[in-house]
Amino acid sequence: MLRKYPTLLRASWSLMLEFRGEILLWMMSSAISLVMLVVWLSVAEDNNNSVNGFNGNDFVTYFLSSWAIRNLTAVWASWEMDSNVREGKLSPMLLRPMNPVHWDISQNLAEKALRAAIVLPVVILVMLFGPGLNIDWSLANVLAFLVSIVGAWLILFWADYLMGLSAFWTSQANAVITTWYGIRLILSGMVAPLVMFPASLQTALLWLPFRYTNSFTVEIITGRMNGNDLWFGFALQAFWALFFFCIAQITWKIALRNYSAVGA
């Protein structure tokens, strides 16, 4: 299968270049992080520049990192699945000797490369000319950061793919997907740092998947994570990635059986 990837990636890259304008628009839609930054800055200002241990610079660092990570882990396999199932585009894909998910993965990776090309210059510019960012640039920390981005992407991709599979049972898969996006937006720390949440919710979020799709990675790069917490985080991230992967695989098998039973 891996030998097929260079060709898939090359075609996906050409496809993404066709959509570059659209991708730019999608990136703008992730600007909610930057809107939230402005909100929290004004909150900080009203509170003597400190909210739960965050000062103005901390907020800038937090939301800029959150925005960059969100862009480097964006997924949309569910929307593709929904339209493929409803419009019957899945059938031609199923005739080919390859699981169509490889196509989703390669398109996503190609798109990530394109997004990185836009995100990185912005981050570098802010680092050079913006206010002092509180980022921990130690080698071990940057490595942990990179691993956690991959982990976050794996959770997001397989969870999103799983939500998309609901299209096999309901014509309202959009509703499922949008609800999932909404919950994720809030609970992953993209609207507010998780330390701003009530203590009980924070404890719950330690065990739920959401933190590991964004906040965890932000906490690493901003140096808010110590050794033990880091390993605990990676363990949970790995658990949730594996969990969604396995459930998605099983569901795909059932979905396919269902699809071919009721009409393709």
């Binding site: 060709t7 898939l8 496809l15 059938s91 031609p92 005739l95 080919r96 009721v262």
Partner: protein
């Protein structure tokens, strides 16, 4: 053993019936009504390697459903289907690599990229060696005249051009079995002939087995010796096309244009007088006596013009559906 074996195959769907209007949709929300549709009902047939078979039937007859079962997209409700010894719905790679399904109304080409990108992706997916790929593409280019079309964005191609590329994409792995579902739908006559010629050439060169469905009788008459007529999920006729025509319509149509008006009684001896209005006479003459009758007509009357025709295939098929020719 036959290459395609279908034995008492059935495919039933549960269809959710929804009433119109708000009250209706509320009712169906709380108490869904289901109805079983027998899309394919106890169908049996065998097809040998290299055969070209036409599937004829009106919309909703079960043609596409049968092809989808044979392609592994649908599980049969009951009965057996095997193709090249494989059970299609197991979707084994070995099977997927040996057949293709082309649906005139669905496409596999990537809409936003040139067709050649899909070709390359298929090369990777089907694991086609570079040599085989080059050779096959060259041959397809010859047969379909793809040329510059391959490098144009698919969405900018005309329907006919797109169909050519669609066929090429489906043939790159040199399938041994082809299921062609309405491959000429919406195409103009020239393009229809082009596609038809391609299918014929592919069958002859590679000995491929082909099942073809089409609304255009001309496609089927030109390509298939054997036809399977299917309606409401059941097979009405399976056999030689010519024999069917001769059995249901054992006559030729002779149209005469006379120099002087005549009346219909004068022609009664030759066959059935379909119409006679003054100088134009249309006769249905028994097939075996057609030549003889024509000769006599030409000597007996002063004829300005004469034409011989076979009865239109559409009429024949309609008669089959109307139950005039149930398989004995």
């Amino acid at each position: 053993m036959s290459q395609i074996h279908v034995d008492r195959l059935s495919k039933h769907y549960q269809v959710h019936e929804k009433e119109a209007g708000l009250a209706g949709s509320l009712r169906s929300f709380f108490a869904r009504k289901y109805r079983t549709v027998k899309a394919v009902d106890e169908v049996s047939f065998d097809i040998q390697a290299g055969e070209m078979v036409g599937f004829l039937g009106p919309n909703g007859a079960g043609k596409t459903t049968t092809l989808k079962v044979l392609s592994g997209l649908l599980y049969p409700s009951s009965g057996v289907a095997t193709v090249m010894g494989h059970v299609p719905n197991k979707r084994e790679t070995a099977y997927l690599k040996q057949f293709t399904l082309v649906m005139g109304q669905k496409q596999q080409l990537m809409w936003d990229l040139p067709a050649v990108e899909t070709f390359l992706v298929n090369q990777a997916i089907y694991e086609i060696s570079q040599d085989d790929y080059d050779a096959t593409l060259k041959e397809l280019d010859q047969l379909l005249d793809l040329g510059p079309l391959m490098k144009k964005q698919v969405r900018k191609l005309s329907l006919g051009e797109r169909m050519k590329c669609e066929l090429a994409a489906a043939m790159l792995h040199r399938p041994k079995v082809l299921f062609l579902d309405e491959p000429t739908i919406g195409l103009d006559v020239t393009m229809q002939v082009r596609i038809r010629d391609f299918i014929e050439a592919y069958n002859q060169r590679h000995g491929a087995t082909i099942i073809l469905t089409s609304h255009y009788m001309a496609d089927v008459t030109a390509l298939c010796e054997r036809i399977i007529v299917i309606d409401k999920g059941k097979i009405f006729y399976d056999g030689n096309f010519r024999e069917l025509i001769e059995r249901i319509a054992p006559y030729k149509i002779i149209k005469l244009q006379l120099a002087a008006p005549a009346n219909s009684e004068q022609f009664a001896a030759y066959g059935k007088v379909e119409s006679c209005n003054g100088t134009i006479v249309v006769l249905h003459v028994p097939r075996e006596r057609a030549t003889e009758s024509a000769a006599q007509l030409l000597t007996q009357f002063k004829v300005n013009d004469v034409t011989f025709e076979d009865p239109p295939v559409e009429d024949i098929i309609r008669q089959v559906f109307e139950g005039n020719a149930k398989k004995r």
